[in-house]
Subunit: 353 residues, 4 copies
């Protein structure tokens, strides 16, 4: 069987490294080019000794012609606002793209500009209608035919998967949603900063970007689509608004989101459990916990699972949902490969379990 | 000057140990008896080598007569539902008590029984009217004359101090309050359990007791008093109800509570800052952060401070308050000594800075 | 192809759980019985939610007849001095055994008794001559034909692999060997103790069992065989003696051993590198680092590799060897499966990369 | 009483910050100037919110005239090879100096140059004879009269204190000393590097600078003085040489050094204990542990103590010494204040307990 030829643009960041780890063992993939502007010229095992004796491959600078020519699909793991300069080039040359940046996640370019402080370029705006938000548990069919998948953010993945059934079945009010998320440090990437220096971060816990974290528009867009239906960009005025607070946990990997929603009328645990199980019955990477069991970060660290539990707080008419993922896998590289599998007609779980 | 003679009942738990550390250096205190049922007969420096060359004192079993006779004031750092058997004995013998358990915090014995699953004994019920909830920033005057102070819980301290000004000045709605708290592991005490085994707890993050953590009634009682005024126990039916979720952070010390409240009308940052600064102007251990600065756990670890910051989320009409304390100090032993200072006419900060 | 039928005795300890994780995905293995005296009757996914949707298997009490009847090979992951009561029963019934305890590692029963404070039972003494010390990099051929493999200890694996080439080629003196080892907490197992309570262990570092850690005789036996040749038990009087100190690192997984040896005459880095590369040229799980590169714990965590680096300290005529492994994999479960692969004629790396 | 006027040059590094914390509460000290080239112009509480409400002081650029004029003593917490440009200026103006760099620790300028890769400037060479190595447990009398104290390195403090009695009383051979040290991350300072990025450092353990860590000459100089007597710089050719390996522990604070020495003849535990107790009988910050007790990092974290324990390994004729300190206190700022106390005629422990 012909293998899918795959390259990675940005292969030495935390998400990129995970992509390499998954894809080097993926039976249906031939890993062709590893692009890294920081370490071009070196062997990947020089940068990450973990790969010694396992992967012998030189990192290269981005040569669009070369990479496009040799690849059926590329993963672009570049910073937001940078990706948009590269992605269209690959698509033009007939190469499918799974983009891990935020550049193609937001349907309304004005919203993108408002939150990311840069205008999406013209060609990328034109790509938005065909770009598919890569959450397979919701957009499976669209992903199958997609040429460009916008891989979701880590926090949004945990939140959207966590509460979609409640919104879909209108079990909860669309107003007043509170999302309190906590992430391990790898979510902040490899860029050095005093706040991520070991001595500063260790034995600490803090909230950050409490007002306007740029994962908010993505969460609100998708929750609005789910609750109100449709897929247009009307959600801005009339859509769901969430109060979102991210926090930094002194651990390497994992996100736990605690979501607080107001139940419409009184609901029994079994009813809630039922809609969750129903909604995710075909989803191989979502596991629903029966109350009073709740997921913990360590259950999913190193895996592509999203584990979800909930608890009804009758005293106040709220439901709390706890959703956990590995931010680098289901929150980035794992989900990206899951999307690639679907786009390529492979089993959804191939290389991921 | 005659020193205050002080003994500690339960001096080898985490809070007890902190009490010893503070009191051994307190200029106005003579540390008389250290009671520990677990380690009676041993020198405290055998149990905690940190005390070598610093404190040479034998741990004893609880001998009420002896301890009462030699003490002006005792700290009872015993488990909930156990303290009630000891506290009245000391009071009867004219010894003042700062009780670190929950037994005298809840004004309504029925509520206590509902949440702690044990009936308060008769004599303790009789003590409730005179027991003072030991949050000096709110009950300073009452504490001055108190014979029995019920030292607040760790989570309640962070939460109540964090949002009291907003409720006091009716800047926020009393409904729909969400409190998402995170604590270091020392808050769970020294009792061994698999969940607190290093290998299980490290690199993990989880919510626990999501439905009915027994710090809830204490928080609701005090917030109701603040918002509705008065100090009776009517609050149960008509009072404030909060949605509270505690989480476990893999660090030793510190609590961060993220509180979400609905603003009544639109408020400016300066207005909010003003009521906080006004409310706490005389409080030596509360520090208010000006937006956009926010407190972090490490700013207060090892201190008796409660650091508070906030952020107005105009998009959703909410205010988020971040409140941090050291759970063993402002959340337990430090606050207990602060109470002792006030009860004894010492400077409030003596031994604590 | 007929799969190898395998059962695990002791499947809910840390090593046992790793065995389950590896074997459930091993293409040539059918995982038959999971024995756990602690959790018999429960499904393994109830104990470890990580297995949800992945492995649906009930834990059972040890039923020797049943397990033996259905298994070609068993892994016994039982405590030292307990294993000896079980292993001979399986062998008697024709079931091969990979034993993860120390019971069959020491060739001289008197030495075993001295260090483990219990006499090896008679039948087990009789098994010693045929028991093979399961370090495949040294005993590959013997393991191929073994019915009983004594899987090495975690510290010994790191140490023996780390310095064997130096001793084999007589590059170093056999006297005065110093081994300073550091291990993550999972090496101490799941048994609760205050020293492994998160709050006690976190932000701490300590040496333990500094005088007589029971991994010493195993290290000395094997190093003596390597240096002096042969495989008898004369080594006790005349053999190599090491000074060994284990320390506890507040991390979950990994061992780093720093070994100090006296060079015989002056040696160049290239000469040392050459003997290491030569000795391990056929070993798929040993990676030699060229100076000045040195291995770190994170390079091997989660893998079956042993990474080895060295540095010649000319000023004092010493060579320092740094050897790292994952204590639960190459130091326990991974190596056990490696042994199973060899005993069964599978590829040595099957299921392990 | 007139307070000692003290300034700190380099007050926002980790050691500098500890100096501020100690000195702001020191009863006999007036903290005058806080110099910080990185944060000049800001209030220290802006940089470290821990100081809010406690210390209100502006950080300034180094103005030698100004600082010298207002200070009786300065602490120079500057990088190696930088300090030498500043220290002589203060001395010239009659200001005493406690220098935390390595610039005045090494008696032989050639050795300094060899290890620090820079020549000591001429004026500093001239200061070497009067510079006192600031280990009060050894050089108490000299420190009393010193104008310039070279505050010891963190590793050397743990090592020299740990084994001095053994060398002093010739209980051990001066050859073949092995020192395996482990340090928390604050020892590496605040300078950002990928190796100290939380995600890289957490759950890892590694050796570093295994060949030529620049604390070696300092250790060898002092151990040679102790063993051979005298205080000249002949030790280079004939003196003690140690094999030293530092490792990085993923904790914030603390050093544990494991030292291996060869006993001269057989020694009993009591004999060894006796010389340790005798040697340190007047030392308020050294605590000797009786076997089999051993110190742990957490016993000294946050204190100025050096805790020392030992174990005789009769099987191999070695003694192992375990010595622990807080690298920022006894290993830096605490010891510096201890030196200041002695130089100023204060109680040695003032401000430090």
């Amino acid at each position: 069987m012909q293998k899918l030829k795959v390259s990675i643009i940005g292969s030495t960041g935390y998400a990129g490294k995970e992509l390499v780890k998954i894809l080097m063992n993926h039976q249906k993939v031939e890993l062709v080019h590893l692009v890294s502007s920081s370490y071009a010229g070196k062997n990947i095992a020089e940068i990450f000794p973990e790969f010694l004796n396992k992967l012998d491959k030189k990192l290269i600078n981005l040569d669009l012609e070369l990479v496009a020519q040799n690849s059926d699909l590329v993963f672009t793991a570049l910073p937001h606002t940078i990706s948009m300069d590269v992605v269209p080039e690959f698509l033009k040359k007939g190469v499918k793209v799974v983009d891990l940046s935020a550049d193609y996640r937001i349907k309304d370019p004005a919203v993108y500009q408002e939150w990311y402080k840069k205008e999406l370029n013209q060609i990328s705006k034109g790509l938005l209608p065909e770009a598919v938000y890569g959450l397979p548990e919701i957009y499976l069919d669209k992903i199958k035919d997609a040429l460009l998948v916008a891989n979701p953010g880590c926090y949004p993945t945990s939140v959207i998967l966590g509460i979609t059934p409640l919104l879909k079945y209108h079990f909860v009010e669309p107003e007043g949603i509170i999302i309190d998320s906590k992430s391990g440090t790898s979510g902040a990437g490899k860029k050095l900063s005093l706040g991520l220096h070991f001595t500063e971060c260790n034995e600490n816990f803090k909230a950050y970007k409490v007002v306007r974290h740029n994962h908010i528009p993505e969460v609100e867009q998708e929750l609005s689509f789910i609750y109100f239906g449709g897929n247009d960009n009307k959600y801005q005025e009339t859509g769901i608004k969430v109060s979102f607070t991210p926090h930094l946990i002194p651990i390497n990997r994992g996100i736990l989101s605690t979501c607080y929603l107001s139940l419409k009328g009184s609901k029994k645990e079994e009813e809630v459990l039922e809609i969750y199980q129903k909604y995710y019955q075909e989803a191989p990477f979502v596991r629903i916990f029966e109350p009073p069991n709740l997921p913990e970060v360590k259950f999913v660290a190193g895996t592509n699972y999203c584990d979800i539990g909930f608890s009804i707080d009758e005293r106040v008419g709220k439901i709390k949902v706890i959703s956990v993922i590995d931010n680098l896998l289901k929150g980035a590289a794992g989900q990206a490969v899951q999307n690639m599998n679907i786009m390529s007609g492979f089993s959804e779980t191939c290389g991921l379990v």
